[in-house]
Symmetry: D2
Subunit: 453 residues, 4 copies
């Protein structure tokens, strides 16, 4: 089992959090899965992910005071393993867990994922639960000094034989259920403690080992970010995805900041290893947070987001309630030409970035197909350009930050053969002029071209 | 009630931790109190302090694995307040708490102190205990994200009306017991969390308010250190003592490092406000840690420690088991002339500090008595000196770090009248020569002189 | 010579920078001195300070490109000491320096101050100038790795015998000129280098020694800030004033931020030792910066600033061109009752601070006069209050940050005797009600009361 | 010109610094080049690099006081470009620069490199030199606030058109001379300034552009380290090599620390892009520093160093005086089998690292040749092992940090076919046993095996 074979291209799917917060139930998950199978699957979308607190019997009941209720009512089996709340997931009754729901999703030709918190339930530790395969009870496996800052449910698991046994027992159960994808939270950037800000590595390794043992190819996704660039090689070794930001929402300042994050991580995208820009907050959002809203992103901003995620090859997880998607949003998510940049032999690279504009290219090393995106991240419309020369360096020859023509990016001397251009959002065709791609781009918007041979 | 009247001079006493770790019992406390009354009280020693885990029924039972047992067996009343373990403190049976032990100590003419951990017991939170005077139960008062890194017993208390009620209920009980001194732990430097490394301020204020309300002058001591110098004014406002180091033990490198800490805090010592150098690890130590040992400090080092603590005016808390004190150690702790530097109208100040030597003075602004200490903190014997001129500047005129005679400390031109000198440890008398105090000081040792008129 | 006798109360005066930038000349300095003698001196204002670049022959000539011209034309004597530019200060011709201008100021009953940059001129080092009293030339005294980030004129001076000789030669010349006050720049917070961000201590000590040797009581003021609180004791030992902020200008966000700075430094104000809030940017400003403007502070904000500076006992240096002062601004600077808070036996203390309001008191420990200021630092008008109880604790009993009446500041139980109140800006009289001082305070404004006996 | 074609494999050569410090001369460079051509060239060694201060006429003359003489005597042309000191490099007389020496090296079939400091000479700035192709003189091109902490010769160059012109004029001259390699110092990690510790990026880009314009494929090497991992993608874009450590010397603690550095950078080694472990301090060293010495590394340590550098694929630069190489050291540097790991299609990867041991593999993706190195970095001899399974994961399947057999590295279940082993230092052959490579490795030593098919 080589974890790099579990996800050869960036995973694409739907996640319940942005719309349902902590409250999603079985019927809602099924409805979204149905929609995906009917309308999105053919474009590559396949994961259906149940996010945080599916084990809580009281999640959302005092939402004005707590998103995560301290010392709340969680569903747990006799071995300290959290179970779906039966009131919310009726098919889980009698200890069946998510097996039935996973089967439903599989029957649609899709994959099933769940969210978990790093660790073992505090309840298990305070009640001295037995743990399958372990010599000691949960109070000796839990580390009382390892908590999550923002969620009160768990203690960290000690890096011992019995700690590994706990994770093995978890993954064995998940494999039995038919889980294909785990989003583990409070593990990528913990913020706990001054001297050693990240204490999740041991548990990342334990999870990785438990997956290898469980015999099922389960994609491992780590949250929240920002991930630590100095451990890039280690994320690559143990996980399939890792968040490069804290939670991403429909706020331009967060989207603008993502360009610096993609720049930082651009050399770490490859089969089985995907730095993750987080979910796409499009369409209808936030019902579980108190009040449903329509994404605050403009259409330009949504195209910018989709384009960046695809050029960079981030995983794509839709935040919207799918059954409420309008036509325009559906079209945003099903731009087949853009989505082809996610392919296995594709490679994205930043050409330049300033405070006003960013240019990326994405090349299919097999077919030679080349796309280039001109992002206008300033607050006013602008004409952006890039020369063909700049696109052809092995790693991009320059950043264009020069102060004038002579010092800056090289000209188009070698532009003997002009190229055709095809813009992926408008479907308009045009040609380069003097070896240059030039476009009027609205504020916060993007033009993305496939460059002809 | 002005907290600055609770301790006009630095508190002096005995603390159970260095010898007993988490295991001290009633008979042992009484024996130490008896010894103090008989041999130390006349020199100013008065506090008898029961340190950490007096509420634990299983403390020390698996000491090879845990100093503080996770999810251990703690004694607690119906309102979430920890009680002395009755097996260890028999007089506490039937909910009497420390009242009887405090009375015993008071009858000896001494004062009684206890250690507490910041917060409310985790057990109280997980069991939803009622809290006296509060509208909600402990699970709503406890903050599940506020823990101690090294001790698993408590959750932090929320800064709310009900949180204050919990602390009020605690202090009311302590006042009823007759407690004179509280050493609160995990509150001065918490190390929890990257962005905001200290989260104990709110609880410091709540404790302060609860003390004001309880009607008893209870000295508030904060641990562990190092305290944060940028909050010096705030410690002064709410507490009587605060630790300026992490735990101090019988190790020369820690003692040497204390000179920089005293330098840092020298301007913040005044009535009711005492930066704290921590306990004196002298005599017999460590039985509760597994194996009793004799202090690893040499006699020179012990004199250096006592002299620095007194010149600076740190609180003095003896770590030794008192009943096992030898004659020499007893004499170390009862140097009446040195202890007079702790007086209310005394003021300590560093004259200079280098990697090799440190010079302090301590002046009684009322009587004019002037003491000067020459510390040799290098590893070889050396001759140290200071001029009378250097001792007389309002704030000391120079640090002596100059590179030669001309650039450095000024000479003794004005030494028309030589002074008599009296060394406080050897009791030897001598005189200044050319306005200079000069002494051969052994490595790690000190000479401390009272300067005649 | 005890430097703490050089400035028993916070220095008050005028400084050329805020109006003239780098360009002030002799006639302008004299005009301001004349005005001070005629209108301000009787209120305690006495220092006339010539700020940065008085030695530059080309300062201001290419102001659009450089505030400080790299490798510019500086006036220097044969021993590497900068001299007033004769074109700008005609009386300095023939090597007379500032002697004549200082005499002019002295004859008005005022004191004369100058700005200097830490170090020795780069020009002196590159030209191997001889240095009075030193065995080696300037190229061996200058440290080529010690520069100022923002000003290109100097190299730092090595902490050697010859380095001290250079500073001695400087101070000897300044004493000959009759300088009473030196504002040394690039020495309080250097920002140079990652590992050791401050490298000015050695030069602070060298300056201090040179002042002691020069025989003239010259006030030493250190810039820029923010000063480092962990070295508070050391500033107290060597300097008379030190900046607790970076440059302060007429911007509300900077003024609001000053409250946190004053809180931080409140325990370090005493005779000879004054944390410095920087100049008062009132009246006409900025002509040398390109375009004269009227202070952007509202009247409320100016009263807030003056009140805070006085309650805290910061030095006061007027930034305005004095000859252009209007009546209102003159009255702002001559509130005799407020200025009396600067007195030698006065002591300021913060009672509470939140994001919306701040309360300070200032007490004359000799006369018993008590003032209390209620600052509204929010953006909307508000009613603020403080109880007499809160004003009488030795250090203030509470911060008032409690969440409700019970947990918060104590009530007015002891208000048997109500007090008279006199507001220092409006001159209105009133009385406390139920032991409480209560006032409607406009946004960004202040009410400051003298509390009757 | 694609800079990634300038160095397809890690550069290998000799550098004058470790033996000659700042003092190497023409005859010495030639002697080392001769030796390389005769004895090392056939193994891939080809660069001959003249290190720091070749432009100094007084380097080394007061070595007890300064390594780099402040305001020293540097050789410079009329356009502010440093020239070889003619006394040390006679062939450079009459403005010929290094052309003759480069030709000599080229005629041996080798390549010629020089060290430069980032920036423009301070002397040029203070003398207002003209700059070829620039509108302004050196005093406007130099940034007086951009210096090197440890070397006093230069000012940084402003990122302007004229700044680029200066670098263009430099590179044009170097290309004329025939330079093949530039080691630019004070550019990779500057340590200057607190808020922005690295200010060399602009100059890195200017150098890169100047190289592209100069028409000669000049390898760009950046010093000193440690390079910043968060800018890895940017080093890859502009440079060929960048130091991942501060200066490396013959000290075990530095060598041990290199394992963590190689771990950190392992994913950033590829054609044209080589993280650099610094020079190999073997053989005779240090004559220019005052006293020649023999490397302090043991033979075991030297083999460990060579093996790590080769497995990781660091550039290799010999620090020894080549003409004094003994047989053993020569054999160390000419292990053809080990050096083959440096090949273009080779890839190194860390298998595991703990405080006691480190395991790396290096695989030729074309030929399939697999080498594995077992490093014992503890201070006692030990038996180390690795399973074939662990070597075959795409990215290595685990780190082996598990606490026991079950939790830890997987066993050798699939070892149906044992492999032959060939140890590269001892030339001994052996076989795996139960799919495991096991070896007794001395303290600080290494065993490195080629694994048979």
């Amino acid at each position: 089992m080589d974890k790099n074979n579990f996800a050869l291209t960036p995973p694409m799917g739907w996640n319940s959090y942005d719309y349902y917060d902590t409250t999603v139930n079985e019927a809602q998950v099924k409805a979204n899965a149905d929609f995906m199978a009917a309308h999105l699957k053919e474009f590559g979308w396949e994961y259906v992910v149940v996010d945080i607190e599916w084990y809580s019997n009281d999640a959302g009941t005092i939402r004005d005071r707590f998103q995560y209720i301290p010392f709340g009512d969680v569903e747990m089996d006799a071995y300290g393993r959290l179970q779906p709340s039966p009131a919310r997931f009726p098919s889980s009754a009698d200890g069946k867990g998510f097996a039935s729901l996973a089967e439903y999703v599989h029957n649609l030709g899709l994959k099933f994922g769940i969210h978990i918190m790093r660790g073992i339930p505090r309840k298990a530790a305070h009640e001295n639960c037995p743990v399958i395969g372990a010599g000691e009870t949960a109070n000796r496996i839990a580390d009382p000094s390892s908590i999550c800052i923002w969620n009160p449910d768990m203690y960290g698991v000690r890096d011992t034989k019995d700690g590994q046994a706990y994770y093995d027992s978890l993954l064995s159960m998940y494999a039995d259920w038919g889980v294909d994808y785990i989003k583990c939270d409070d593990i990528c950037d913990s913020r706990l403690y001054r001297e050693e800000p990240f204490l999740g590595w041991e548990e990342t390794r334990m999870l990785h080992r438990a997956i290898e043992k469980c015999g099922r190819p389960i994609v491992l996704s780590l949250s929240p970010g920002p991930a630590h660039i100095d451990r890039a090689w280690e994320y690559c070794k143990y996980a399939n995805m890792w968040r490069i930001t804290d939670d991403f929402w429909d706020d331009w300042s967060l989207l603008k900041a993502m360009f610096a994050r993609c720049e930082l991580w651009q050399d770490h995208v490859r089969a089985g290893c995907f730095p993750d820009c987080d979910m796409l907050p499009v369409g209808k959002l936030g019902k579980g947070f108190g009040q449903e809203w329509e994404t605050r992103f403009t259409k330009e901003e949504q195209r910018t987001m989709m384009t960046l995620w695809c050029m960079f090859r981030s995983p794509l997880m839709i935040g919207a309630e799918l059954t409420l998607l309008d036509e325009w949003t559906l079209s945003l998510l099903t731009n087949r030409e853009l989505l082809s940049c996610m392919g296995r032999t594709c490679h994205g690279m930043q050409i330049m970035r300033s405070e006003e504009q960013v240019i990326w290219k994405n090349e299919d090393t097999e077919s030679g197909r080349l796309c280039v995106a001109l992002f206008n991240i300033s607050d006013t419309d602008a004409v952006l350009s890039v020369t063909l020369n700049e696109l052809t360096g092995a790693r991009g020859s320059d950043d264009g930050a020069g102060i004038d023509e002579n010092a800056g990016r090289s000209g188009a001397e070698g532009a003997e053969s002009e190229k055709t251009l095809y813009e992926l959002w408008t479907k308009e065709e045009s040609r380069t002029v003097s070896g240059k791609i030039e476009a009027a781009v609205p504020a916060h918007g993007v033009k993305v071209y496939r460059v002809g041979q």
